[in-house]
Amino acid sequence: MANKLRIATTSLAGCFGCHMSFLDIDERIIALADLVEFDRSPITDIEHASNCDIGLIEGGVCNSENVHVLREFRKNCKILVAVGACAINGGLPAMRNFIPLEECLNEAYLDGIGVENPQIPSDIELPLLLDQVRPLHEVVKIDYFLPGCPPSAEVFWTFLTDLLEGRQPVLEYGLVHFD
């Protein structure tokens, strides 16, 4: 147990598709469970990452909360991995980067069709949006990148087994996809 790698995972401005793909390793998750344990992750109830070996993050950075979570991961994970297209280049959420934030918010909360009681949410519990969605590597240092939308289960498996077996992870041709 003491030698198990601790893994934390989270989704920032993502769709959890990368997490779903991770779970597509199917029965190999049993083998994996012998080798790793999960820290903060949607599949555990742990709220904060601490003392992890690997942090897997899907999604880009679109708001202040994303920044805090990303920093928590960076601080608590020896190896931080940007997982999937959104984490690597902002992905689909970053397509709002071409519309000024003010226009986005006005459309969504003030002027859009079907808006009732128009007001821009201002509760202090709510994270504020950044003017542009950013990839992870522009906010913290990232150690590895797993491209794909989502990266296939094979990518997760290869990457983790390489790490577990002490190899520098290598993604062969068929495993590198941006779609």
Partner: protein, 239 residues
């Protein structure tokens, strides 16, 4: 010994007037490239075909093959530099592959795969670029243009037209079309033009064909660009 040169230690023949790229392609040696296409006048702008000729850095697509040249292409150093240059092309534009119908058939993406590019490395520019969907059969998505000028050359050299041009300077370069309105629909482009089919990225697309081949079964999904490129370019087009 005359009319041979070496690439990565292998001796290959060439004929007078050939570029290093042409000599390499003819003998089955792939040198990564995006702006080069054997049908058109070499351009030399993408710089992916950077090779070292007798220690000096040159573009293989424009540099003449000469007897006794010692060409280095597939080295760790050049591959690393090519990857950086490819990353530059990615951050300069807006390349959201998952939402691009060219994915899997895209040469920019395929070169990136070939170079094992896993990330963009540099900060992204997120430039503000438009889509021109005015033409009923052909679409321009400027977000994906890499200024290779293949469409410009194909329109001039094959189609005998002048539909496309590159305008602007430096990082503000952009593709324009030859119409007063600035819209593709007002040009004399036909969907059957060579220029409409030559784009190495998803910047110029034929409408209504997007997902005829599902993602996962596309050109580069199972074949590397080196094999595809050599298969297509080794015999001169049209012969």
């Amino acid at each position: 010994m005359s009319n041979t040169l070496t690439i990565d230690g292998n001796t290959i023949p060439f004929t007078d007037g050939q570029t290093i790229m042409q000599a390499a392609t003819a003998t089955g040696v792939y040198i990564p490239h995006l702006c080069h296409h054997p049908e058109f006048t070499p351009h030399g702008s993408c710089k992916l075909c950077t090779v070292k000729v007798n220690g000096r850095i040159c573009s293989a697509c424009t540099f003449p093959a000469m007897a006794g040249q010692n060409v280095l292409s597939n080295t760790q150093e050049l591959t690393a530099d090519r990857k950086k240059i490819t990353q530059m092309l990615f951050v300069e534009g807006n390349h959201f592959c998952p939402s691009c119908e060219k994915t899997g058939n895209c040469q920019l993406q395929a070169v990136a795969y070939h170079l094992n590019m896993l990330d963009d490395h540099y900060p992204l520019f997120y430039p503000q670029r438009a889509v021109d969907a005015s033409h009923h059969e052909v679409l321009i998505d400027h977000n994906r243009c890499i200024f290779c000028t293949l469409c410009v050359r194909a329109s001039q050299q094959t189609d005998g037209k002048n539909v496309f041009a590159i305008s602007g300077r430096g990082i503000n370069k952009h593709l324009i079309v030859n119409a007063d309105s600035g819209l593709l629909k007002d040009t004399d482009l036909a969907a059957s033009d060579r220029a409409a089919h030559i784009c190495p990225t998803g910047a110029i697309l034929i409408k209504h064909t997007a997902y005829q081949v599902p993602i996962g079964q596309r050109l580069y999904d199972h074949q590397q660009i080196d094999q595809v490129s050599l298969a297509q370019e080794q015999t001169p087009h049209g012969e």
